[in-house]
Symmetry: C2
Subunit: 602 residues, 2 copies
């Protein structure tokens, strides 16, 4: 009904911020220094980000709202992508965006993971529903590169890398979600080395569509003689269409979608219910090790979901900023202007500044995780690779959960900045609020991430990775002490101390098998504590780098000063949370155990 701001509906890829995060905070130069990425240098980074940003702005962003309105459609056993999506996907594949990090042997460009993540942030920001399609192909690529046979690599992997086909992750069943060990889909040997899959799967993102000729499903199922539970699950590959020896497509396989879900958001991403009725499949990797193989792609997907959170937050933030600059109400206490832009009201500017600071923090966490993943594979020594692998593992659940929480929070604040207009669907802010809400849920709920962090990641190496992180943060604190006076320093110091206290408390509790519930009761708070503090550390590193550039006269001084200010804003508005997080980490399980259904039911 109401006039919408055309300008606010457009998306501008934050190329300068992305490059800053990669270079000045995440340290992508260390990745380049390994020599493992022959085709990578700073110029390539700039070119990739520019090109990705342009594609996202010009091709993907304009399809976002129409895709939300039309949605993907199911009819007669097949899914049709939302209008414009098939053509956009073909351009996307032709542009080489599905092959950035794949190996040269598989037809890829062998670029760093961290760069791919930065490029994909613009994809998810422009069109989160679209971005899910290639995101799942990338995860499939990662799994096949790791454990695929030569035949599987030649036949399927190369087509996923080229983007001619897409990949889907097929895990969940109605009674096996967070607990995949409960799944019941069966794989029966056909006698010729292939298997027949039978079962029903749900929540299969882009499980069917009309954007490519073929779709490769990576499916978790049980062999006939498999042990019960998680140790009896194997990974299978089943193509929508059989692939002949010459690479041409053969007959349609025996699986098909039986419907798509009606969802709160990401309407243009088909979430399929899939039926496998004797679908011909190949084993991928080793029998009964399917969960481990799947976790190769799951970890990549979790980090990618974290980047989704950053992307949707950036989109929502830009929308809100544009509105705040355009919308005029009331007198500004700063400028004295009557009917001033609401940007000139302190509470609105604080809101926008905190949104921006949190986005920068989440972005830096995700890209740092990407850098760690690159270095875990390519750092010079075994010891370095192990240390970086520890950092990657420790950061992955934080990157996933904290960034997706930020995605929802920033999208909600974006609605709020718009006032009443934010609640009107035509404005666009509401879509981000709806779309963002899935990211804390899929690829392992954020509660599962917290359990992964305290249950596995924290103690996987006796706490070594956590202590290494604390040491790194303390090193930055010393430098920050030369940059700021008073509270911005004290707050980071207190925050790092809180991480140390919480870490020691948890490691202690974990050493006592009777205290499992204490550990789990504090898991969510510990993850949030880590996110808040690591995020602050990232902004502090950004502030130090900005100061160095300012001193060297290297770059736009207003924009660089912004990096220093954002750290300070974050310190005042976010780092204070740590005492609350610390209290909740240590709350213990007893009180919770005593909370009865009767008391909770009212």
């Amino acid at each position: 009904m109401l006039k919408i701001l055309e300008t606010a509906m457009s998306y501008r890829a934050p190329v300068r911020d992305l490059a800053f995060a990669l270079e000045a905070v995440a340290g992508i130069d260390q990745v380049a220094a390994t020599g493992a990425f022959a085709d990578y240098d700073a110029d390539v980074m700039g070119a990739v980000l520019e090109a990705a940003g342009q594609f996202s702005e010009q091709v993907l962003a304009p399809l976002n709202r129409p895709g939300d309105l039309a949605g993907a459609k199911y009819a007669d056993g097949a899914v049709t992508a939302a209008p414009g999506f098939v053509d956009a996907y073909k351009q996307f594949a032709e542009g080489g965006w599905t092959s950035l990090t794949a190996s040269v042997e598989a037809g890829g460009q062998a670029l760093p993971k961290a760069l791919e993540l930065a490029a994909y942030e613009t994809v998810h920001a422009a069109n989160m529903a679209f971005g899910l399609c290639p995101m799942l192909s990338l995860a499939s690529i990662e799994a096949l590169e790791a454990v695929g046979t030569d035949h599987q690599k030649t036949t399927y992997l190369t087509k996923l890398v080229s983007g001619e086909w897409t990949g889907a992750m097929v895990l969940t069943e109605p009674h096996a979600g967070s607990d995949l060990g409960a799944l019941t889909t069966t794989a029966t040997p056909n006698g010729d080395g292939t298997y027949a899959l039978n079962g029903q799967k749900i929540f299969i993102t882009w499980g069917d569509h009309d954007a490519t000729d073929n779709i490769i499903h990576l499916v978790l199922a049980r062999l006939p003689d498999a042990p019960a539970g998680p140790k009896g699950i194997s990974l299978f590959l089943t193509p929508k269409f059989a692939v002949n020896a010459d690479g041409s497509l053969g007959e349609r396989n025996a699986f098909h979608p039986v419907g798509v879900e009606h969802k709160l958001g990401i309407h243009a991403s088909p979430t399929c219910v899939m039926a496998y009725e004797g679908a011909r499949a190949e084993l991928v990797g080793r029998p009964n090790e399917g969960l481990a193989h799947m976790f190769v792609m799951m970890n990549a997907a979790r980090l990618a979901v974290g980047v989704e959170g950053v992307g949707i937050a950036e989109r929502a933030y830009q929308h809100a900023l544009a509105y705040a600059l355009d919308r005029r109400q009331g007198r500004s206490v700063w400028t004295g202007e009557k009917n001033a832009p609401i940007f000139d009201h302190p509470d609105v500017r604080r809101t926008l500044g905190v949104m921006k600071a949190k986005i920068a923090a989440a972005r830096a966490i995700c890209l740092s995780t990407g850098v760690a993943a690159d270095l875990a594979k390519h750092a010079a020594t075994e010891a370095e690779r192990k240390a970086w692998k520890g950092r990657e593992d420790l950061f992955t659940p934080i990157a996933k959960a904290w960034s997706t929480d930020i995605g929802c929070e920033v999208a909600s604040l974006g609605v709020q900045v718009h006032g009443g207009m934010g609640f009107i669907e035509e404005t666009g802010a509401a879509q981000y609020y709806r779309d963002s809400r899935i990211a804390p849920i899929y690829e392992g709920t954020n509660g599962i991430q917290a359990m992964d962090l305290v249950g596995r990641k924290l103690s996987m190496d006796g706490g070594e990775s956590a202590h290494a992180l604390i040491a790194d943060m303390k090193a930055t604190l010393i430098e920050i002490d030369r940059l700021y006076v008073g509270k911005p320093v004290e707050r980071l110091a207190t925050a790092i101390e809180a991480v140390e206290d919480a870490t020691l408390w948890l490691l202690d509790a974990k050493a006592d098998a009777t205290r499992a519930a204490d550990v789990l009761a504090g898991a969510d708070a510990y993850l949030k504590l880590m996110g808040d503090v690591v995020g602050g550390w990232m902004l502090a590193k950004g502030a130090l780098a900005a100061k160095a550039r300012l001193d060297a006269g290297n770059g736009d001084p207003v924009w660089l000063q912004g990096k220093l200010d954002l750290y300070e804003l974050y310190a005042a508005n976010v780092l204070g949370h740590v005492s609350s997080r610390l209290a909740a980490v240590g709350q213990g399980g007893d009180l919770l155990q005593g909370l009865s259904v009767e008391a909770l039911a009212g």
Copy 2:
């Protein structure tokens, strides 16, 4: 697509919790003790809550999801309510639910405001879109009781009280939202004592519908000779159909809806764009004092919106609790059960417990504000009435903003508890997430509430009301010290101290005219601090009352023990926020003022 839990979709009015909040926390006995409510006693309270709960459960709740799907419809200059809503409204009016607090002279039941709020919580929980219709009638009733002429009372007020007609608040224009002073709708004298209204209004909730024969609009507009800005706004009453001297309806008035908005949520509540084209109107109250008159109903509406937040949170919570008891995944660390209800996982139970505790806190704040409103009118002495008015004024922005933030937060956690199912619209959790999002926006955004709190309410009486509150909280602290040991006591002590520090800091800053931006920069954090701490105080009062009942063997011991546990859980998970809030209160405006568009734009 997926089987939904029928049980989870139903709503059960929390009558026992509501009665506990009224009696044990808000202190409704003080209202009864004034003697001003002749027909009120504890039995009446119980009967009203039971009957309201039953109506909400049986008539309103079943219409909630169908109403979301169908929505209110606009066609050919008229709005049609969602299916079933007209009949439900007629039953609602016949049940006397529109007349609870109105004066006996106007045909009302003259019951306490606090009781009405408790009864309406069940209405909003069952069907938030429906509840908005009578909520706005109640606000109109309040305005006409306060400043209507005898003619207006006889002609319009009685019909609003009986529910035969509904009322609408008509304030916003495209360029006059938070800043109503900018509105341009005109009122031109017709020469016969009536006025002709001309202008366009937006966001008019239930501005048109087919549930009643007539609709009474209370409209803000400008007289020809009115001063510019907020001091030139008058309040007018204009009926959809003229009312003849005998009370029968005459000709259709010259205003009509020109469309309804497509919104994120509350689809069954028509949000109308209204055009007034010479609509015949009466002046209500005094010329150019329209804003002051409107604020009589605005304050009532703000408190009612706070209750909406509580209601939608309660609904989302019940839904999530039912799912958590039904859904089985993984082994419980407590019971050892394999494939245990997710309720038996510590993080899920913590989530549910914190949801419940926050709802109880928000409910108690809202109902305490209602009690304060009742006592502000009816307490024995002028000094008492003044003190209670101060409490009501201080609490109103907190009740509105903090409770509606809780509404969104709990609705979001409700989605999360459902995992992937939460994102599927059929499950129902997503609707609460969508519906709840409007409450922090309308009747003054929560940012506006924060400005009201620090700008007007805090210092209206030299800070006396704030100091009285702090003194009351300290008195409870002494009692709590006898009930708990260690942290539950320390945390409340620290929290009250934080309120005191923040209050003094703000009063100090407010005394310096050059520090207006400092005050505004801390406004949001101060409101949140107050909400967190006052909420904790409310739960502490509940714990004390529960302990007394336990000791007296008066009531279900499991349920009463829950009140003690909820305070403790809240202390561990929420009260720790205060140090963060305190830091943000005092952040000052300078850093924000320096944050340039260029820095924020990336």
